[in-house]
Symmetry: C3
Subunit: 353 residues, 3 copies
């Protein structure tokens, strides 16, 4: 349950959400609440009929078009999830607004920092780095040599940006992420492992979100790339030279191995993985804990390990679960043939044919 | 092999552990050792008979009640693991004892820091944060706005506490953990991903331990919660709005998805996972690498993916391993029917019924 | 595509790589490029015939001995991957060369820092720590009490080295790693979890690489150990008391549970795991996402969960995938016996024998 700074009238909520008002336009709304805790002074956003039916009628709601009978109160909208995001944005704390370089930050003389940027305490900005307008570096951010951070990007505490990393506009990089670390490349010589230098870079597009404690490695020779609009969860790993498209979703604990290609609009669910050099086609969905070992065409939903068509995997899972019964049935059939079977097991050639 | 600061007599060890002494009370004990390296001047704690039998008789041991024949030497205790913990605690280095705010720490004027707290070098404490008595913040800790840290809690280096996070009493937060990061919530609009603001909080109970490089996200609207006494390993991820009960154990690399509910006393083994909105009942155990996809009743042991009753899963695993043999047996049965079978395979309807 | 600082003649490249020159020795080489982007002024290193065949003939290449017909241009070498590493090393930025302790670093008076070491901004070095010659600590590194870092080791930003950790010579520790954190040991008493103090240490050999955001815990009583030459990827976890041998490769997101033993030259692929106390024999390979639950002999390749011989696992995977077909065939056999089968299902004893 979250209170707005000021109470709103229901009519104001409806107009803010571009929705259709049902019921008393002057009802005062103090804030947003979840269905479990909502009262008549709060509003609740719903997109599942079952949750909607459980609510008492006098509680104000935001719901899809056509759901509100005249005895209800609330706002109908085209997209309730978007409306939810808009309402929640009313509580978001404004970011540290001051344009300032904290006196404890260590900025190299050859770095360029736009005067509208905020650089927090104990940040380190190395030689040749460029920080554009409206960038926010929270405390303890490390910005390596020749890094470029484009306008409006926010970097949370304890993030490491290795040398030469490029971040696009309005990105959000969460606490402790490691971007542009050397990739994991070795070759074996006389039983010892020799490091393959990683001299490529890391280029991240616009409006990318990178979760806390996520690592994305730089390329060996070319660049590792993350396309614009892609959202990456916590504790994800993206290997060297991987190419991740635009508007992808990589949920927490996903692993993308080196040189893998993730095309646009792909969803990788939690704890899933993609083998090195494998390609996941545009718009495909990889289910949680699955492992992609070879190329997946566009528009597929895959699951399991090795990942295959999800419907097939479900069939196989169901049959795997029935293995004890299947085995029993096989045994029964064998008993029906026991005489012949025994002979066979003794090594005599079967005479049945 | 670890030496005490001073040698102890065996009678003193017995009385420290509230155990029963067997053998020479004046034997000098210099420290604790593992069974592999123990000598007659050290003591070794054992709870497995097989390891006990391998030891030479003259080595002092701490073992369960009733194990020591009169020709042995050592201490019998009710709970050897507890005794082990007690003995080891004799070596633990005392924490930096001084109550001090390091001169390099940046503390907001509106933050409240109890005079008995220790704030290490390069810590940042933002506006409105409250730090209670006997709290220790090691170097490089970031404490966001309005964070509350209750008495006796220890926070190791490079931890990020986002704004508004609440930590209970006597917690231990290991290096690099990220607590209260924005959760991973997006909705899709015209092919682009729109962020759902995460305005809820994160509330952690008393005596909770959080492993190194673990991330726990804040709630979307309500709070993510971790119950008192719960122990969380390294590299774990807990998603937004998840509710984790008391005295749970989340072993390293476990993933708890958004809005999942983990009831009290649950054990999640390494690399396991729980789907969003799924519930794991009180006292249940989820085996390593398993994935919980739907509600698990209390007191179950589950394994596999999707996770099911562990005994069933073991049966299925055993049969899966026997698939090559099962397939051979099916082939043999088919050969017994080859005439009829062949017809069938040619597309003729089977006449057998 | 990466440019050298100066152009090289092909004859110089051949001599630098100790290889056999084919074609114009005076061809100017501006840098190294991948097969996709290479032009006639760059050189491309190849070890797969298929990629080689696709290239136009006038592009300079580095390839295995015996590949170059007289109409080609390039250098033949014994080991192209090693040659690739050598060429790439020409671009590597020299590390901050200056021997300096940054004025913002907080070094305890009882710590010993060799004058040739570099200590970056905001580093903290605690009492009794020893830092040998040519060590580089990038910004924001935390070095606990009595830590020892041997010559030439490089530690990237935001790394935490807990008290007493020992790092060998010429190691590379990537951003945000946590080394020597207390292990995850608890015992249960009256329904509450009691912490087992972790008083052991962590000893890391020479030329070990540790990936970004990897955690390696200290031992309970003895030491956790990582052998010389071992390379560990990002987001890996190694539990307390684990013993990892020399020249091992632990790929990203691998988990090694407490007290596990990984012998020399083992490869653990991505997202794999080893159970506590299990042993993986010398030179064995554990495939991606596999889980080792019991001892693996030397020289094996294992996969699956529980991990078994890889060829066996492949057979089982293939048959699992064919379960729908196998089930159909079982059904067909049952239909052939339907009369008898039905009786049987009604509970009548089968008369077939």
């Amino acid at each position: 349950m979250k209170k707005f700074d000021d109470a709103w009238r229901l009519s104001q909520v409806a107009s803010f959400l571009c929705g259709r008002l049902v019921g008393d336009p002057d009802r005062l709304i103090l804030g947003v609440a979840s269905p479990e805790e909502v009262t008549q002074e709060y509003i609740c956003v719903l997109w599942e009929k079952s949750a909607f039916r459980k609510l008492v009628k006098d509680v104000p709601v935001v719901v899809p078009l056509g759901w509100l009978e005249p005895d209800r109160i609330g706002v109908e909208v085209e997209e309730p999830k978007i409306a939810f995001a808009k309402l929640l944005s009313l509580f978001e704390r404004p970011r540290t607004p001051k344009c300032e370089v904290h006196p404890t930050a260590m900025i190299s003389q050859s770095a360029e920092v736009h005067p509208s940027a905020y650089i927090g305490p104990f940040c380190v900005v190395r030689e040749g780095a460029k920080i554009a307008n409206d960038v926010v570096l929270e405390a303890h951010v490390f910005v390596g040599k020749d890094v470029f951070i484009d306008e409006g990007t926010i970097v949370e505490p304890h993030v490491t940006l290795y040398h030469g990393v490029k971040l696009g506009k309005r990105c959000l990089i969460h606490a402790g992420a490691s971007l542009g670390c050397e990739g994991f490349g070795f070759c074996s010589r006389d039983g010892k492992l020799v490091k393959i230098p990683q001299v490529g870079g890391l280029v991240i597009g616009d409006e990318v979100e990178v979760g806390a404690l996520t690592s994305i490695d730089r390329g060996t020779l070319g660049d590792t790339r993350i396309g614009s609009g892609t959202k990456i969860g916590d504790c994800v790993h993206v290997g060297h030279n991987a190419q991740v498209g635009s508007n992808c979703i990589l949920v927490a604990m996903t692993g993308i191995a080196g040189s893998a290609v993730i095309e646009d609009n792909v969803i990788m669910a939690a704890q899933s993985g993609v083998k090195d050099h494998a390609r996941v086609g545009k718009g495909s969905i990889v289910a949680a804990k699955s492992g992609v070992t070879k190329d997946i065409p566009p528009g597929m939903m895959v699951s399991g390990f090795p990942a295959r068509d999800h419907r097939e995997e479900l069939k196989i899972q169901a049959l795997t679960q029935r293995l004890p019964e299947i085995y029993e049935r096989l045994l029964r059939l064998e008993r029906l043939h026991e005489g012949v079977g025994n002979e066979d097991e003794k090594g005599n050639p079967s005479k049945a044919d």
